[in-house]
């Protein structure tokens, strides 16, 4: 391959990474509620895309391709990686914070975070995907519907239902809003 063509492919790839990495992370996070694992899945997804690009494969819709691969990797993780590599489960991993730990930004205690995570786990993965896109990426219903290929009205309904359910449960636990 000529160096110029290679540079062009790399630039295209990095453009796709910048446009979609947060979306890929959000889908992986919605599946496992584990930030570190979501980042690993995101990296693996883009690594596979890069190999496709290097091989000269043509991908008609890179965004759909990335989201599909990320979902598959997240599902495969349940079947294989935990047992095979001895990776700790998400509950344990989430108790370990990185060195670049951010201020809690209103969530004062780790306990509160764990309670929210526990309630999110009770929701379905599609509902968690919608919530993650809404609150992590600030997507509106139209953007979420476009990304997940569903009806915007369905996004509104599911978001409203999930939010109400979470509010009821968290209020019952004494968590009303961020302090």
């Amino acid at each position: 391959m000529k160096p110029r063509a290679k540079d062009s492919r790399r630039a295209d790839f990095e453009g796709m990474y910048d446009r979609h990495n947060r979306e890929v992370w959000a889908l992986a996070y919605a599946r496992w509620l584990n930030a570190d694992l979501a980042q690993d899945i995101m990296q693996e997804t883009f690594l596979r895309l890069w190999r496709q690009v290097q091989d000269g494969a043509t991908i008609e819709n890179p965004r759909a391709w990335l989201l599909r691969v990320a979902r598959n990797l997240a599902e495969d993780h349940a079947k294989s990686s935990f047992r095979r590599n001895g990776t700790q489960n998400p509950e344990i991993m989430n108790a370990v914070r990185g060195k670049d730990d951010q201020p809690l930004d209103g969530l004062e205690r780790e306990e509160t975070v764990e309670q929210i995570r526990g309630e999110l786990k009770l929701l379905s993965t599609p509902d968690r995907e919608i919530l993650t896109l809404r609150y992590a990426l600030d997507y509106d219903a139209t953007e979420i519907a476009d990304m997940l290929d569903i009806n915007p009205t369905a996004v509104h309904m599911r978001l409203s239902r999930a939010r109400q359910r979470l509010a009821e449960r968290l209020t019952a636990k004494g968590i009303k809003e961020s302090p």
Partner: protein, 111 residues
């Protein structure tokens, strides 16, 4: 998104939660020379050869132990394949079996 005042609390809470979970710094785009995170660890050929060798040694040791132990317990002569052999059940050496004639039973009379 339409939100009421009641929703504002949960909105704020969830936004705080998700912002906290998101990476503070996003990594650079991966390059082709990276090792994959989710790839299965593959055993090297040396490790596999050593494993097979150990399995072979174990099987040989079990077989040798079996032969050694079985030498202490000699087998009895088997008569299972000799059609002329007699069963020895109920017989004692030196005692001849006696034949006992059956008692006569009167024939039943018709009424």
């Amino acid at each position: 998104m339409n939100t009421t005042k009641n929703d504002e609390g949960i909105d704020k809470l969830l936004r705080s939660y998700y912002r906290r979970e998101m990476p503070s710094r996003w990594p650079d785009a991966p390059r082709g020379d990276m090792t994959t995170v989710a790839a299965a660890p593959v055993a090297s050929s040396a490790t596999m050869s050593a494993g097979r060798f150990l399995v072979g040694i174990s099987l040989a040791a079990i077989l040798a132990l079996y032969i050694g132990v079985s030498a202490f317990f000699p087998r009895e002569q088997s008569t299972g394949l000799n059609p002329n052999s007699q069963p020895i059940i109920g017989q004692r050496p030196g005692i001849e079996p006696k034949l006992v004639a059956p008692k006569a039973v009167p024939a039943p009379q018709m009424p």
